[in-house]
């Protein structure tokens, strides 16, 4: 333990840079993922058949080992930060899309009837009824996606994308397991932190949902 801390303090600068790169990689991928997957998920609720096809395709894509996808990305997009982000972005889509789709699909039809009865048009219903009620499912999707992406971002090190994966690979290749931990421990902490924060958000959103149903 103490030798791990020594290694950590010796590499503290490198670890901080790597954490920064790691957050940069994951955050950009996730934010782009949310921007694309949430609207697509909503659109898919209007076309059930299209939804089956699109979700099916992305299920297949997500089963491709990320290292293979990174290899392909390298051939078509080159190396470094950008191709790594794009691959992570592709992986982030499915859980968010599926969360949005199921969340909105499972909104109580009675709530929708009531909204219609109150004279709401479609955009209003989406904004005022469906979205708030689907929020816990959407955030669950985002949480799942983020945790995946934070751990998969370690593989960006393969194509020069940087991040905490660099420390892990450097440690593995030089049999320096304390260096491996310098990369692995921050990844775990980041995952736990994000998981905790988003769980908190889900709880708040659910409380909101409870109130809606009660009134």
């Amino acid at each position: 333990m103490s030798s791990f801390l020594t290694e950590l303090s010796r590499n503290s600068h490198a670890v901080l840079i790597a954490i920064g790169q790691h957050i940069g990689l994951s955050a950009v991928a996730i934010l782009l993922g949310i921007l694309v997957a949430v609207p697509v998920g909503v659109l898919l609720t209007y076309h059930t058949r299209a939804a089956k096809i699109v979700l099916g395709i992305f299920s297949v894509v997500n089963t491709i080992p990320s290292i293979v996808l990174l290899g392909f990305a390298m051939i078509f997009l080159g190396i470094g930060y950008i191709p790594a982000t794009i691959v992570l972005f592709v992986y982030s889509l499915l859980p968010i899309m599926r969360g949005t789709y199921t969340g909105i699909k499972e909104v109580n039809p009675n709530a929708l009837k009531a909204a219609k009865g109150m004279g709401m048009n479609r955009p209003q219903m989406l904004r005022l009824v469906q979205f708030p009620l689907a929020m816990p499912a959407i955030i669950t999707g985002i949480r799942l996606s983020t945790i995946y992406i934070i751990s998969w971002a370690t593989l960006a090190a393969f194509i020069g994308g940087g991040g905490l994966g660099d420390l892990i690979w450097m440690g593995l290749q030089s049999y320096n397991f304390h260096l491996v931990l310098c990369g692995a421990v921050p990844v775990t902490i980041l995952s736990l932190l994000v998981s905790f924060l988003l769980n908190h958000l889900i709880k708040r959103a659910s409380r909101h949902k409870g109130k809606e149903v009660a009134t």
Binding site: G78, G80, A157, L172, L179
Partner: protein, 380 residues
């Protein structure tokens, strides 16, 4: 009580180990190798050379492990020789720091002297290639960039995208830090990435300069050229065969054969040989044989009876002799042994209440002895 058991077990294992290592000291020589293509290939080349040029029986224990494993195996007598590199021996076996400025001649001299004194092993003269780190650039871009040496590269380093595997960045003096300190490199971009993807990135010109090993077959595949390390930053890793002294005393004729290849395999030749195995997917045996024959080190007629029968083939011989087929035999045991410097198979199987024993010559398939005894029934 438990403690006592542990001690007994430990002693039993020690005894077993010492017996095992004793087995290795039988007649003939055993060639070992480390776990990568080049080392396995060179082990095979030496094995075939000895087989063809002498009457000494050769056993192969290729693909053993890392440097520590191979050296320990040689010390214990499990193997008699393996292929070593001067830089590795100097640093890992003899615990000298590889500092910049020590010439390859000095390192070789220290290795030859100290391996002889400390380990009672002889390091033969190197084959000529030097498998060390190098900075490589696509051959077609050498002129465009105007570089031949690392000093040339340092003058334009601010326009260069550089990449290396992760391990290179962890080396204290002869890795990335060394490049910066010795040559004053200030690269435009510095990437860490998987070694196997580096070559592709250099090929597509996503990277301008990458770190490679000088004898890698991929250099040939992607047509890359290594820049000259004009300030000798990277330590020498010259390859040479390392053999225990008592084996050389027992077989004095070995010395000449082990010297045959000294100075005969340069970087390009070694790249070519690695290329044939790694990229063309040819077998190590085939590439080794072709190299030895095409360079006249052995002739086709030297290729004697190195082939031996397989276990299945000798079993079929024994079944045929016993007049039964393979499905009828039970409790089958086959073991390859060396008896009076002849390789034989000892075969045992049960059929119809009788125990059959055969000894068959592994090279000719001749039945040397046979017996058929009533199986002893276990007393109840």
């Amino acid at each position: 009580m438990k403690k006592k058991n542990t001690i007994t077990l430990f002693l039993a294992m020690l005894l077993l180990l010492s017996m095992l290592s004793g087995c290795g000291k039988s007649k003939g020589v055993t060639v070992g190798s480390k776990q990568f293509t080049e080392n396995i290939l060179l082990g095979e080349i030496y094995a075939q050379l000895i087989e063809a040029k002498t009457d000494i029986p050769v056993t192969r224990k290729l693909n053993l492990g890392g440097t520590a494993v191979c050296h320990l195996a040689a010390q214990k007598g499990e193997i008699d020789m393996y292929f070593e590199y001067t830089g590795t021996a100097y640093n890992e076996l003899l615990n000298h720091a590889l500092e910049a400025g020590v010439t390859k001649e000095e390192i070789l001299a220290v290795c030859q002297k100290e391996l002889n004194e400390n380990s009672q092993m002889t390091l033969f003269d190197p084959l000529g290639f030097n498998n060390t780190y190098a900075v490589a650039v696509k051959t077609s871009r050498l002129e465009e960039l105007g570089v031949e040496t690392l000093s040339d590269l340092s003058t334009i380093s601010d326009q260069i995208k550089f990449g290396a595997g992760h391990a290179f960045y962890t080396r204290l003096h002869d890795g990335y830090n060394g490049l910066v300190d010795t040559y004053g490199m200030k690269f435009k971009e510095t990437l860490k990435m998987d070694t196997s993807l580096l070559y592709e990135a250099a090929h597509t010109e996503d990277l301008d300069a990458i770190i490679v090993f000088t004898t890698d077959g991929l250099l040939k595949k992607y047509d890359l050229t290594c820049l000259v390390d004009d300030k000798t930053l990277f330590p020498p890793y010259e390859g040479a065969i390392l053999c225990r002294n008592d084996v050389l005393e027992r077989y004095p004729e070995l010395r000449d054969e082990l010297n045959t290849l000294a100075g005969k395999i340069d970087d390009e030749t070694m790249q070519m040989l690695n290329y044939q195995v790694d990229i063309e997917n040819r077998s190590v045996e085939e590439v080794a044989k072709e190299f030895l024959i095409s360079n006249g080190y052995i002739s086709i007629t030297d290729q004697d009876n190195s082939k031996i029968y397989t276990e299945q083939e000798v079993l079929d011989i024994a079944y045929k002799e016993a007049g039964i087929n393979s499905s009828q035999a039970s409790e089958i045991e086959v073991e390859l042994k060396t008896k009076d410097s002849v390789e034989v198979y000892e075969i045992e199987f049960d059929y119809d209440g009788y125990e059959y024993d055969y000894v068959i010559n592994a090279k000719t398939g001749e039945i040397l002895s046979k017996s058929r005894e009533k199986e002893e029934l276990p007393t109840t």
